[in-house]
Amino acid sequence: MYDAGKIIIGLLIFAGFMTFPLWYNGGKAAPIPEPKVLTKGKCVEDTAYMRAAHMQLLNEWRDQALRDGNREYVNHRGEKVWISLQNTCMKCHSNKDEFCDRCHTYAEVKPYCWDCHYTPKESKKWASTEGNS
């Protein structure tokens, strides 16, 4: 092997960088966050389903409501639900920081929902709701 020394040093540096998150955290994983649910009522679908597939559901809802003009969703229990992220989901889950953000931050995902949709609490950061209209 030519330049064995350089190559081995290079590989070591590479391995060091790649494993950085492991040894930086001392082998301990960060605790898995638990989203805080405020209301006692049932969600539009089961918790397990929502955990796994809320993003797909929201994608479908978006296209149904906005593009097909169909704002009613029938869930697995046969109940009719009004399709709206801001007016259905976030009415119950009004604690975006403790519900949505907790897991999203942990999983390092940055959904662009919040560029437009908001809870009244969230909106205080950028608009004074007490304004003069």
Binding site: R62, R67, G69, R71, Y118, A127, T129, S133
Partner: protein, 272 residues
């Protein structure tokens, strides 16, 4: 020298393919997505008038300027619309975002043949309400490269803000100047203003415009501007329903539309 038979056939074959392909794509370009192919009739202004399908709604609006001009300083419809949809407010004209606003006669009706200097002074000085015309043949929909703006079966030209890439082709295509771009974070333009918590804001880098209150129609409500007007200036309804109020108003009054010669077939009508 010269082309032999083989070569000629090759060239002829390729060029006929190209021609056919070009023709076919032109036909495809000419039929906007979502437009139904009902019976069509040639029309003086060049626009095709389709026979409505049964049970399909076609939303439209009549603006009665005789009533509107009695209240020159009234902005109730504009305020209601901009509040209900959290339309940002920027002082700098360059960054302006608006869904419905007032415009002088000569600016709103630039090309129509009725403008001359001997018009009644009241009309020339009137401020006309302008908004998205929700055209039958919307140029904005024709040019959008992602179908972010599209025409619903009920005639509403809608925006999907999730999909808009912000290329602003629709703004170049709209002959009515009805579209606004979010040059800045729109939330900067909502500071100190009352929000409607039921409606989202937009994000930076997308185009927005009047949506004929599609979210209110879904709940069986009238558009916010129509509801806010205390003087009955705005009549909203189903153009396909011959018994609707709007059809009665249209049948009893002479109405005009903005830039009809462009063949866009607006669904907003004005009683001058």
């Amino acid at each position: 020298m010269g082309i032999d038979r083989r070569k000629f056939l090759k060239i002829a074959g390729v060029s006929s393919l190209v021609t056919l392909g070009g023709g076919a794509s032109l036909l495809a370009l000419n039929s906007p997505a979502g437009a139904s192919h009902g019976e069509v009739e040639h029309h003086a202004e060049g626009e095709e008038v389709k026979a409505p399908e049964k049970g399909v709604k076609r939303w439209g609006m009549v603006i009665d300027m005789r009533k509107c001009s009695e209240h020159k300083d009234c902005t109730k419809c504009i305020d209601a619309c901009h509040y209900v949809h959290n339309v940002p407010h920027f002082e700098n004209r360059k960054e302006e975002v608006k869904w419905i606003w007032k415009e002088e006669y000569e600016k709103a009706f630039t090309d129509i043949g009725t403008l001359h200097k001997y018009n009644p002074k009241e009309i020339v000085e009137e401020k006309f309400l302008c908004l998205c015309n929700h055209c039958d043949h919307p140029p904005c929909v024709r040019v959008c490269p992602t179908k972010a703006t599209f025409r619903r079966p009920d005639g509403i030209v809608a925006m999907d803000y999730h999909r808009c890439i912000g290329c602003r082709f629709c703004m170049a295509a709209c002959p009515y100047g009805s579209r606004s771009f979010n040059w800045k974070d729109p939330r900067l333009g909502l500071r100190g203003r009352k929000l409607n918590p039921e409606f989202p804001t937009r994000m930076r880098g997308v185009v927005e415009k009047c949506n004929f209150c599609v979210e209110r129609l879904a709940q069986g409500l009238k558009p916010a501007c129509v509801e806010a007007c205390p003087d009955g200036v705005l009549v909203f309804g189903d153009l396909n329903d011959p018994d609707s109020e709007i059809r009665k108003v249209l049948a009893e009054n002479y109405t005009v539309r903005r830039k009809p010669e462009l063949g866009t077939a607006p669904s907003v009508f004005y009683i001058i």
